[in-house]
Symmetry: C2
DNA sequence: GATAGTTTGTGAACTTATTCACAAGCCTGA
DNA sequence: TCAGGCTTGTGAATAAGTTCACAAACTATC
């Protein structure tokens, strides 16, 4: 299959969230044009995005909502349950562990790790904080798919090495640094400072 | 000035964070090539990004670190202090209010709002939660620059309308929906579900 | 079953973003 | 002051992403 752009995947994700809303409203078909309006894009874009994966619509009619949602879930790999571990039992880690959105979308948080001896052994929701040293060993048992990094920047490179060694192929990074990982590992970084600076830039350059 | 792509702004932000680290290490110059390596990009990209705003380097030598950081801070509009209000006094709002990164980067959280009568009036760090109904009135006094939305999806459209009416021109959105705002308002959305789905997609399609 | 009215799927055109490649400029050392 | 070694800044070339535009296919109506 040809390489799919990250921007395309983001839009697919967006379309899916709209479809789920529409499904709840009981509507049964939707046109690329309506979907485009919801997502702030164009109908051609919607059709092109979907056409990368097949033909899901009916000419003259549009897309069947439940069918298209199902297809999108399949494309996005939301059929199976992914095993997630959270690394870093600080404030962000805690907020993430409590976050309901993981489970709702089929992401099962199966472990929490930290380097700090003071935190190791503490119970946390339904989990016990474990030592990062156990990660590699645990990974072979739990088969983690995704590591969520909520570590301070200075520890993060070492943590990343352990995640890589544990064979985990996807990282959601909340540490405010750039990760360096082998090419077969996918990283998404969420960086508040960067978002804020984007807004600051926009505010400073309005009307240029 | 010509339109600057969001991807460019993100990279500038990234370069700045590297420069700050390098500055602390006491290095005084850096080449586009080193900066590129840190940021996972190419030296041509770095030079092109910077050249959109001027010529900051010395041929044969590279860039003066403190000077370039200063330029980037200026480009990103980090010279002044931006006034921020957080809307939604739930768990995410609470985490954000406690987040140190705002202040460190010159973003001053000057107000917290909610619709829920039970939460209004509660003290929160150094602030008191106020009614969203007061936002427009307060905005003229405090002159908020940025609204951070940590509201449940169903309330968000109404909140957005109030934010727009209050004259706020930048929104950092944590609600998992697409916002519709006038063209002169800048929105950045942070959506965990979307990031997770991006990873899920990548994991499902490895090796295609 | 023919006609009118939709809406998809997709090459082709266009726009935007990235990479190439090299002249121009600066530093060091002899 | 000249030569050699770097590194920038930037047009030109390439690649990537988006929009256009229209034939093909479907529904509904008469």
């Amino acid at each position: 299959m040809k390489r799919i752009a990250e921007s395309t995947v983001r839009r697919l994700s967006l379309y899916l969230s709209f479809l789920e809303g529409i499904e709840r409203q009981g509507l049964i078909t939707i046109s690329s044009d309506e979907l485009a309006r919801l997502g702030g894009t164009t109908s051609a874009q919607v059709r092109k995005d979907l056409s990368l994966f097949g033909s899901f619509g009916k000419r003259g009619l549009g897309y069947a909502v439940p069918e298209l949602s199902e297809k999108l879930r399949e494309i996005l790999g939301l059929g199976k349950e992914w095993k997630v571990c959270i690394i870093g039992a600080g404030k962000i880690g805690a907020a993430l562990a409590r976050y309901r959105g993981f489970a709702e979308r089929g992401f099962h948080v199966a472990g929490v790790y930290d380097v700090d001896k003071a935190k190791i052994g503490k119970r946390w929701e339904s989990l016990t904080v474990r030592s990062i040293a156990d990660l590699e060993k645990d990974a072979s048992k739990h088969h983690y798919d995704i590591a969520v990094l909520a570590t301070p920047p200075e520890n993060t490179p070492a943590v990343v090495r352990q995640v890589v060694r544990a064979g985990i192929k996807a990282i959601l990074n909340f540490a405010p640094i750039q990760l360096s990982v082998p090419a077969d590992i996918t990283v998404r970084t969420v960086n508040m400072a960067m978002e804020l600076e984007g807004l600051s830039f926009a505010l400073s350059n309005r009307g240029d």
